[in-house]
Point group: C2
């Protein structure tokens, strides 16, 4: 489903270069559930952004479902992203002027989903994430963990088959974090492909396949039995 | 050093009320090291904001070093905050236009610290937090965990005796998180008062005193031996 070959991502700051990803090659099959761990600054968010078509590599190739997406124009990338990928950002990127409910609903509105169907999905997502009595709050009227749950619900509202989640439990207590992972894992049980960046070894260990990044390189790629 | 008596904090959203803190009473002595844990949405950030003079209670009293600070005017609150309290925000609140180094330096510039002394403290903080080769990066050119470390370094740059840290290791791998806690604990060893909000039980267990909030109330307040 996903094939990365020799991905390089170099940032330039002032006169210097930061090699955030160094020759990363990775195959991810449809239906896999993997975690990505590694030290702060090792390139995890950068890798997820490349996978999510939010950032372009400086070198290397990205094939998504057999199609080379490396060279696509911005509007085409945006279309593929909207239709196929649910992305949970490390710092949420919620729309400040919209309520929790409106934020979750936004991808569905953009996709032209009917109001009655949007309402059905919203009710289910708000209940699943314990956000029912915060639906009308804007992000600045929510706790950190409530914002995180809104970001996750938004990523799932279009029922995408590829979920990319950057630290989805970072601001959640253990119990709420387990609930969130249960929902993401249900997407996996239903056939979806799920990649989770996490600093929490307990969360990382839940995945079938565990990738470790250090200084922009994949240094470990283990599968647990019964993959 | 800190006495909270019957603190109430009520938010109003549309027609409804959210009781974020309900009758919280708490004494914190100079030199204590405590952790505050509890479910997402239980009032931890709100409590820390009240302690940090960033938010006013709707009822109840806050005495800081014997002085009633509940009714102070905004500019006086700001002065007390600047001089006595180092605050690490759950989502950092770094200045986007400034570099990592300039962000860390900002409180010192505002306090009129001499350039040579600022440079000395900056060099020490950048080294302590592994940020030396990211000093010239702006927040959007830093990883999540690097931003978090900049926020912590900034809070410590004025050598405050009261440190309030909201989820200081939330975006850090275990190793970097331990390093950060070691620096905060050094402040404690040197006589400072440290309160850490955390979702990580391992981090919470390091404190001498552990407070648990549920639904705006203190439900647990335990001290470990040798406090
Ligand atoms: N826009 C940018 N410009 C310059 N350097 C950048 C930029 N974005 C990221 N970096 C650098 O690239 C490296 C990788 O960043 P990335 O955000 O992928 O790390 P990460 O593994 O997600 O870290 P964390 O666990 O702290 O979130 C970091 O050293 C960071 O400073
Ligand atoms: N400005 C606000 N307006 C309305 N409600 C608010 C506001 N700020 C916080 N709340 C609500 O008050 C409650 C406590 O929020 P707080 O941010 O203190 O929780 P928290 O314990 O820090 O949660 P987390 O662990 O998710 O960060 C939450 O239910 C939240 O929705
Ligand atoms: Mg990251
Ligand atoms: Mg909080």
């Amino acid at each position: 489903m996903i094939r990365l070959t020799g991905i390089e991502r170099v940032f330039r700051v002032g006169g210097e270069e930061v090699h955030a990803l160094r020759g990363v090659s990775l195959d991810i099959a449809q239906g896999e559930y993997l975690s990505i761990m590694g030290p702060s600054g090792s390139g995890k968010s950068t890798l997820l952004n490349v996978l999510g078509l939010l950032d372009r590599p400086n070198a290397g190739r990205y094939e998504l479902n057999g199609r080379d997406v490396t060279g696509l124009a911005d509007d085409e990338l945006a279309r593929v992203r909207r239709e196929a990928i649910g992305f949970v950002f490390q710092f949420f990127h919620l729309v400040p002027r919209l309520t929790a409910e409106q934020n979750i609903e936004l991808p569905m509105v953009l996709a032209g989903i009917e109001p009655a169907e949007r309402r059905r999905r919203l009710d289910r997502l708000l209940a699943e994430y314990g956000l029912e009595d915060r639906a009308g709050h804007r992000p600045d009227q929510l706790s950190g963990g409530q914002c995180q749950r809104v970001a996750i619900a938004r990523a799932l509202s279009m029922g995408p088959t590829l979920i990319l989640a950057d630290e989805p439990t970072g601001n959640l207590d253990r119990h709420t974090g387990q609930e969130v992972m249960a929902v993401l894992e249900r997407v996996h049980h239903e056939g979806g492909t799920v990649a989770v960046v996490t600093h929490d070894p307990e969360i990382g260990a839940r995945a079938q396949r565990r990738i470790r990044l250090v200084d922009g390189e994949v240094v470990e790629d283990k599968r647990s039995g019964g993959g």
